[in-house]
């Protein structure tokens, strides 16, 4: 029967689907993660799920895995409607999920990892160590990998950990296998080994959902694909009938709002110059310049190394090679203090974790970078804090009644302004801002954009890291696109559009300008 399914491949339209998801919706608080998700998987096919960051792919995975329950919609496995309350329910229905980061038990052996939660026992409830170990040995042989079942998982490479995850799925007799960006952390050779295993499983009639940002993997491995955008289904089609351009257009095609000020300042002298910056295994040979009055956007997929480049420039992470100049003066890398003194400011991605002291007042947060300047013999005066922060609050149109109130009481947009105030107060000439509008509402976004535009007019140089393409297109003078730690393209304003940026971010060579 296996052969029959394999021979018919995935493309027979009247083959009964292994899994169907219809009109699924899911909201987290006020945020709609999925508005209309659809998925149709056949036995014996590798099905790609594609979409930008935030398109809702991870939410679909979590629904199929039984981690989240959808607010509305139908999920069918083998034609029967199911509703999963726990991951164990999904597993019993024959669905196994391999997450981006393996969810293994480091201190336990491969065998124990594979059987955790459903170990073989004898009639006294005792574990049958030997039987399980023998089963795992057979399983690993079937997959064609040589790993010792008794080995502790801690210390295995990510690729081997994924092999363990797949073995776990197989031992559960899973016939639907979900793989969430399994290749993100693998070397070329490891990817090929994974593909070989995936193809072997497909021939055995398993339905596989494969999530990846690498289009060449989609073409190499999958038979059909489904594209999502902003939490909604866009299309499902045969991979063979698609090309990269078409896929990218479906992934990004949406209207641009016009609330971007699109600053028209004329760039002046070079303020930030980066040459040959490298950090082993993270990014390599990064060189670019940012001029006074210019916004340069650093675009790319999550994990392409954008934030890491910013951290290395600022000196939080060490760089293995490369040089940085600020206003023509070489910067002593690896010392954030020196970077601040040289006129560099970094507004981090994670406001709550890295940008603010959530338990302190607005005034205290806004003046945190000026402790030395504002203190008298080591003491801070509250009046000074209040006055300085009020000045900046007025400049940035901060909506706060009481600067002595806890910063956690502010909205996301206003919190972002406090972080901006904190860094602007140091009088920087270069501002690096990582995901400036993540998690803040549309109105507040526009205000943050106008604030940035204002700063440009005052001669600030801005390096903006952003995952939101409309934001990049609406704000930047130039965009640098990173792909897997390298500069894939540098696009000027008339060269950049959603397609060129996305294609470069996905590593499509021909579009590099």
């Amino acid at each position: 029967m296996m052969q029959a399914i394999a021979a018919s491949t995935a493309l027979t339209p009247n083959l009964a689907p292994a899994l169907e998801l219809l009109a699924a919706r899911k909201s987290f608080g006020a945020v709609a993660a999925l508005r209309d998700a659809r998925l149709h998987m056949l036995p014996g096919e590798v099905h790609a799920l594609l979409g930008e960051n935030g398109a809702g792919k991870s939410t679909i995975v979590k629904i199929l895995a039984g981690v989240h329950a959808p607010d509305a919609g139908v999920l069918k496995v083998d034609g029967r409607a199911v509703s999963f309350k726990t991951p164990a329910d999904a597993r019993r229905a024959g669905i196994a999920v391999i997450y981006q980061e393996p969810t293994l038990f480091g201190a336990l052996s491969i065998t124990e990892n594979i059987y955790m939660g459903r170990q073989l026992t004898d009639r006294f409830g005792r574990l049958q160590h030997r039987a399980m170990s023998a089963e795992v040995e057979k399983l690993l042989q079937r997959m064609g990998v040589s790993l010792d079942p008794a080995r502790i998982v801690q210390g295995l490479s990510i690729a081997d950990q994924q092999v363990v995850e797949i073995a776990k799925a197989l031992s559960q007799q899973a016939h639907i296998l979900i793989m969430d960006e399994p290749t993100a952390a693998l070397s070329k050779l490891e990817v090929e080994r994974l593909f070989a295993i995936v193809r072997r499983l497909r021939e055995q009639g398993v339905a596989l959902l494969f999530i990846t940002h690498r289009l060449e993997e989609v073409f190499a491995l999958t038979q059909r694909l489904t594209i999502m955008r902003d939490g909604a289904f866009v299309m499902t089609g045969l991979t063979a009938q698609m090309d990269a351009e078409l896929i990218v257009r479906h992934m990004v095609g949406r209207d641009l709002g016009n609330y971007y000020p699109r600053p028209d300042t004329v760039p002046g002298a070079v303020a930030l110059k980066v040459k040959g910056l490298s950090r082993r295994g993270v990014f390599k040979d990064i060189s670019f310049e940012v001029r006074k009055g210019e916004i340069v956007a650093l675009a790319g997929l999550v994990g392409a190394g954008r934030s890491e480049v910013a951290r290395a420039i600022f000196g939080i992470d060490a760089a293995d090679a490369g040089e940085v100049w600020i206003n023509g003066l070489p910067l002593n890398l690896g010392h954030p203090g020196a970077a601040v003194d040289a006129g560099l400011a970094l507004v981090p991605e994670d406001r709550r974790q890295q940008g603010l002291v959530m338990t302190a007042s607005i005034a205290r947060n806004a003046t945190l970078t000026m402790i030395r300047r504002l203190s008298h013999c080591g003491f801070m005066r509250v009046a000074d804090e209040m006055q300085t922060s009020a000045e900046w609050g007025k400049k940035l149109k901060l909506k706060a009644h009481d600067y002595g109130a806890n910063v956690a009481t502010l909205s996301g947009g206003n919190q972002q302004k406090v972080v901006l105030a904190k860094w602007l107060a140091t009088g920087p000439s270069v501002l690096i801002i990582d995901e400036p509008t993540r998690g803040i509402d549309v109105g507040a976004k526009a205000e943050v954009y106008h604030t940035i535009a204002q700063l440009l007019e005052q001669g600030l140089a801005v390096l903006m890291i952003s995952s939101e393409l409309p934001e990049v297109l609406g704000m930047a003078h130039r965009v640098i696109v990173l792909n897997e730690g390298r500069i894939a393209a540098q696009l000027s304003r008339d060269q950049m559009n959603e397609e060129t940026i996305m294609a470069a971010a996905l590593g499509q060579e021909e579009s590099v300008v």
Binding site: A65, V67, T86, P87, A88, R91, V97, T103, L104, F105, G106, A107, L108, E112, M116, G117, R118, Q119, T121, G125, R126, L127, H129, M143, G144, V145, I152, Q154, G155, L156, S157, A159, D160, S187, L189, E190, E192, R193, F195, A196, I197, R199, R200, G281
Partner: protein, 347 residues
């Protein structure tokens, strides 16, 4: 390249370096190194003072270590899940006094019933801790720190200024603390028996392995379909029950109990578990290692007394030992991790 070819490609270098295998062995077999250290200390001390190995002194050490070892074994179960139970000293005190009080009011209570009541008190204390951690979602450090004070407070309120002394205890109960069979104290037999039972359970039963899984990867355990809250609750229940039993044994051994009995013992127990290579990060350790840790600390303490080392140095050496155990573990596993990463980068 055909599929078979790709599958047979060595994705990793076949053999780990010699030094790494040696490190890995040391990490996995801490019981062996603990026993070796124990042997060296016992032999060294007895060379200087031959009566360190006298039957009486060995029996004293074993009696002293029994209660701590028992508590350590119970705490290990909780620590495996990356939790902590600081309230065991208070539970022990409460159980010891309540059972003693029971004897002073009803001298003819059967011994078995007294033990059962002690265990029941422990179960209750464990249930409170377990509910706070699983249902109340209070971090176990905070939850059991507060129950440490609460249980002790209940103890003080109940006891007032009273004191139980050995005269109210029936003969057949006191035997539990002082009697022995074929030279082996009953208390040691109870502790050792429970240790073996628990070791067998942790290794050979689904529930036992789930303690390890939860501490190793909490989210992963949930995804594997383990009922994490139930398992965590049962761990605190077990730890509490053992503390309750330890309270009964404490009463039998020392005879006199007041409101501050067992005060601060939880820190000795945590120290013993850590020295016995139970990881504070959860997921690894064994009850045998934990009991060896308790034994090692007890032997060192009495060796220092016999060698006339001043009290200050006794405490300092205990502290240094804990530090050594933790930093040693951290350094070893970090070296192991670094070597693994280096090998993977060569691929």
């Amino acid at each position: 390249m055909t599929m078979e070819n790709i599958l047979s490609l060595p994705v990793k270098p076949p053999q780990p370096a010699q030094s790494q295998r040696w490190l890995g062995w040391l990490l996995r077999h801490r019981e062996a190194s603990l026993s070796a250290v124990l042997l060296v200390i016992v032999l060294g001390t007895s060379l200087v003072h031959p009566n360190f190995l006298s039957a009486q002194s060995i029996k004293d050490i074993i009696l002293n270590v029994s209660i701590i070892a028992l508590l350590t074994v119970g705490l290990t179960v909780v620590m495996l899940m990356r939790h902590i139970d600081l309230s065991i000293g208070s539970t022990l005190g409460l159980s010891a006094f309540l059972v003693g009080d029971l004897f002073s009011r009803f001298p003819h209570v059967p011994v078995a019933a007294a033990i059962a009541i002690g265990v029941l008190i422990g179960l209750l204390a464990g249930a409170v801790n377990g509910l706070l951690v699983t249902w109340g979602r209070v971090p176990s450090l905070v939850a059991t720190l507060s129950t440490l004070y609460i249980f002790r407070g209940i103890d003080y309120a109940w006891v007032g200024g009273r004191e139980i002394n050995a005269t109210v205890l029936p003969e057949n109960f006191a035997v539990l603390g002082s009697g022995s069979f074929l030279g082996l104290p009953y208390m040691a037999m109870i502790a050792f028996g429970l240790l073996l039972l628990l070791a067998y359970y942790l290794k050979n039963f689904r529930g036992g392995r789930e303690f390890y899984a939860i501490g190793s990867n909490h989210e992963g355990a949930r995804l594997a379909g383990i009922n994490v809250a139930y398992r965590e609750f049962s761990g605190f229940l077990l730890c509490g029950a053992i503390a309750g039993l330890a309270g009964v044994l404490w009463l039998a051994r020392f005879g006199s109990v007041n409101a501050s009995s067992g005060n601060g013992i939880e820190l000795q127990v945590v120290a013993a578990a850590v020295v016995g290579s139970v990881s504070i990060a959860g997921g690894s350790g064994s009850v045998l290692g934990a009991a060896l840790g308790a034994l090692l600390l007890a032997v060192i303490a009495s060796a220092l007394v016999i060698l006339h080392v001043s009290g200050f140095w006794q405490l300092a050496i205990q502290g240094a030992l804990i530090l050594l155990a933790i930093t040693g573990d951290t350094l070893l596993s970090r070296m192991l991790a670094r070597q693994t990463v280096r090998r993977n980068n060569h691929v």
